[in-house]
Symmetry: C2
Subunit: 221 residues, 2 copies
């Protein structure tokens, strides 16, 4: 249980500046907020989180370390499933979610080695190292990119398989170069220019803002 909570908190913080709220955690874990409230007490008692009443939930260094290990497990498992067992990038999240609790330290180390110590998972998320170090990314959310600027897709959130499939069929995959040609606020739509790796000619794609929120890009220099 503790592991689910700390990694939910960690993920809530990873791409946001705000502290995790109890409600976020509840939503991520699919439980009632009253359940979260109760369980946070245990986590505080175990020294994994700090929690001010009606306020912010933050990880202690122990909590952070535990979370990072779970994230490492998750991302290595996702990578392995894609690389070695023929899974699609839209199929791996749930499977990894289950396996990450059952796999031993040894298992995780073996698949890490087997994959050649990868740095990114199939969705572009950075894989923490065994010692807990995590690289930082300067990627920004596609929805926040100014019109006229562009970048390379560095990460696509893995949480909605249907969205991943949708993006895949529209040619939005990791490492695609995109630029924001226009933003139609009333329609909630971005107009993207997109270059596939090989061909030179950029294609035009319309993308809903909801989809854009799941995409992070490394801005052009």
């Amino acid at each position: 249980m503790a592991q689910d909570y700390v990694s939910a908190i960690w993920k809530a913080e990873e791409w946001s500046d705000e502290h995790a709220a109890a409600g976020d955690i509840a939503a991520r874990l699919g439980v009632a907020t009253s359940t979260v409230s109760g369980n946070l007490k245990k986590l505080v008692a175990d020294g994994l989180v700090e929690h001010e009443r009606y306020g912010a939930v933050t990880l202690t260094s122990d909590g952070r370390a535990a979370a990072v290990q779970m994230v490492r497990r998750h991302r290595l498992l996702e990578s392995y499933l894609v690389e070695r067992l023929g899974y699609g990038w839209d199929e791996v999240h749930d499977e990894a979610e289950h396996l990450e609790h059952a796999a031993s330290e040894t298992f995780i180390d073996r698949i890490d080695q087997e994959l050649g110590f990868p740095e990114r998972d199939p969705h572009g998320d950075l894989i923490p190292r065994r010692d807990g170090r995590v690289s930082t990314s300067d990627a920004v959310n596609l929805a926040d990119l100014a019109v006229g600027t562009g970048g390379t897709i560095a990460r696509i959130s893995d949480e909605d398989p249907a969205l991943l499939r949708y993006l895949g069929t529209h040619g939005i995959v990791l490492d695609t170069r995109v630029s924001v040609r226009d933003r139609v606020e009333v329609a909630g739509v971005l107009v993207l220019g997109r270059e596939s790796g090989e061909t030179g000619r950029p294609l035009e794609t319309e993308l809903g803002v909801l989809a854009a929120r799941a995409i992070w890009v490394t801005p052009d220099d």
Copy 2:
């Protein structure tokens, strides 16, 4: 929980003619017999086992089907760990025990395919097919073999890693040809003749009866 119970019952029956007793199940699962007694009620209610008071525990056909699927998972996982992740045959049991609860049907099917639909696991145990069919083996326990007869090692119980290591260092591995040269009852020892696959000259090995009980051989014709 149900899965642990049905597969414990199935395993208890696999190499024995007697019905599983509540105590056996408790020992296999590492819980108190009172716990087993209580949980058997639920399994009966769920239609997975039949249980006569103070008496035999037997699987229903549903229970048997569920058990066979768990055994299949376990043995495929063991095989995969050895074949693809460099585990030793003495290291796989506990890992597989955990993973078998977390892996999806898809995962199991993929590793099955990846391994080319193997028939035996690293300890010689037969792997049930996807549809639930299980081949039968005519192997007999080494401890029951008559002096002067011999056979080929078909199975070594995977439950004690230390014993597996011990046997490995003494050249007792799957498919070794052995013969019983003598049985010293008072010492609880078998004297074995052993032929490694390559060289012709048989070696002599003494083996405790406890070790012999973990070994099954296919008798010579």
